[in-house]
């Protein structure tokens, strides 16, 4: 997890038991950290930013990317 999401969750990475796809994963992360629902973010699966629901493998690495504004 990156930026504001990592700050809210209090961690940068966690292991999640295998879920079928990126939608289920998002659901699971929102259950664990409900406060991140207010932050827009993109999901990357194995370093590819996805626009549609994507099937996950047990070894998939998923990144949650919020925007940053500082400069």
């Amino acid at each position: 997890m990156f930026g504001r999401l990592a700050e809210i969750a209090g961690l940068t990475a966690l292991n999640i038991d295998w879920v079928k796809d990126s939608d289920q994963l998002k659901q699971k992360v929102l259950e664990l950290f409900p406060a991140i629902a207010a932050i827009p973010f993109r999901i990357a699966v194995d370093k590819k930013i996805i626009s549609e629901t994507t099937t996950l493998q047990a070894s998939s690495m998923v990144a949650l990317l919020p925007p940053f504004s500082g400069g």
Binding site: F2, G3, R4, E7, T12, A38, I39, P40, R42, A44, K47, K48, I49, I50, S51, E52, A63, L65, P66, P67, F68, S69, G70, G71
Partner: protein, 362 residues
Amino acid sequence: MDERYQRQMCLPGMGTPGQARLRAARVLVIGAGGLGCPVLQYLTAAGVGTLGIVDNDQVELSNLHRQVLYQTVDIGTSKAICAAARLKAMNSDVHLIPFNDRITASNAADIIAGFDIVVDASDNFPTRYLLNDACYLLHKPLVYGAIHGFEGQVAVWRNDNKPALPGGYRDLFPDPPADGLIANCAGNGVIGVLAGIIGTLQAGEVIKIITGIGAVLDQKLLTYNWSTQQFWTFELEAGNQVLYSRPQDLDTLKNWAYDDELECDCTAELNMTGLRQLLSGGGVTVVDVRLPHEEPVITDFETVNIPLPSINRHSIPEEVEACVFVCNTGKRSREAARIAAGFWPGMKVYNLKNGLLAEDFK
């Protein structure tokens, strides 16, 4: 001239032609703060011919731990003018154009048009979306950088006449975050060297675009975490355009309500119940922005049909005081609402959130 740049001119791919390209280049840097300082310093040192600097801020004491162009004696002076003077002293080959002004929807196109490449070193979301839209419409490459706490992001949007490809800030983050949810450096804190690292990465991308050396961060988002010393590069998928609102031409851009865009979701959106309540009070015009043949047909209240592409300065009578924009999903109507809010600041503008299809519309 050659001796100053000899150590970079002897690199493969640079030589006299590469240096000549740098000298001929015109680069505009938006923001002369934490990111802008290293961008400007390295581009000046490298011999970029013309540098524009846009910033209306003044140097403050709390800037100095990261904005390394400025000295204690500069506190209270204009950043753009102070930076230009410092950079001129660094390298008098460089033509420096300070704009002691804030970049806005109304001046962006005129300022950007005079440059080849734009660097987003700004510190707020409205400016980031504005630069994205203006550079997209003007086909100018945009080198994006942003920081948050210990982390930074860098990306390059080419904007090179290939609108079918994704690769803009709005493609990456279609939904502007609501105001205040993601803090800036003033509110959140930032480590000085992080701004230096991210700004230097941006300057590096600019030099690559100008000289053609190496691989530009095109269609990619680079993230860096100073505390863990990790770089990650994420690829944007081609061909999966997310639907979103953006100004479609420069005239619309000039009137786009960038500062309101971040608040639009919570202040001026209605559901069908809200719309009916508003209608019962009277004095409200409902504008249907769908094409004339689209279903469902609205029969239980009066509407004016102005399809989204036809929404412009002349399409709504000036005497209208309140206007609700509707479409099937709430997306086109939101874009129409933003256009209208820009053209008629005195008019109360609403969007039917989620559109006609999501509601118990009959």
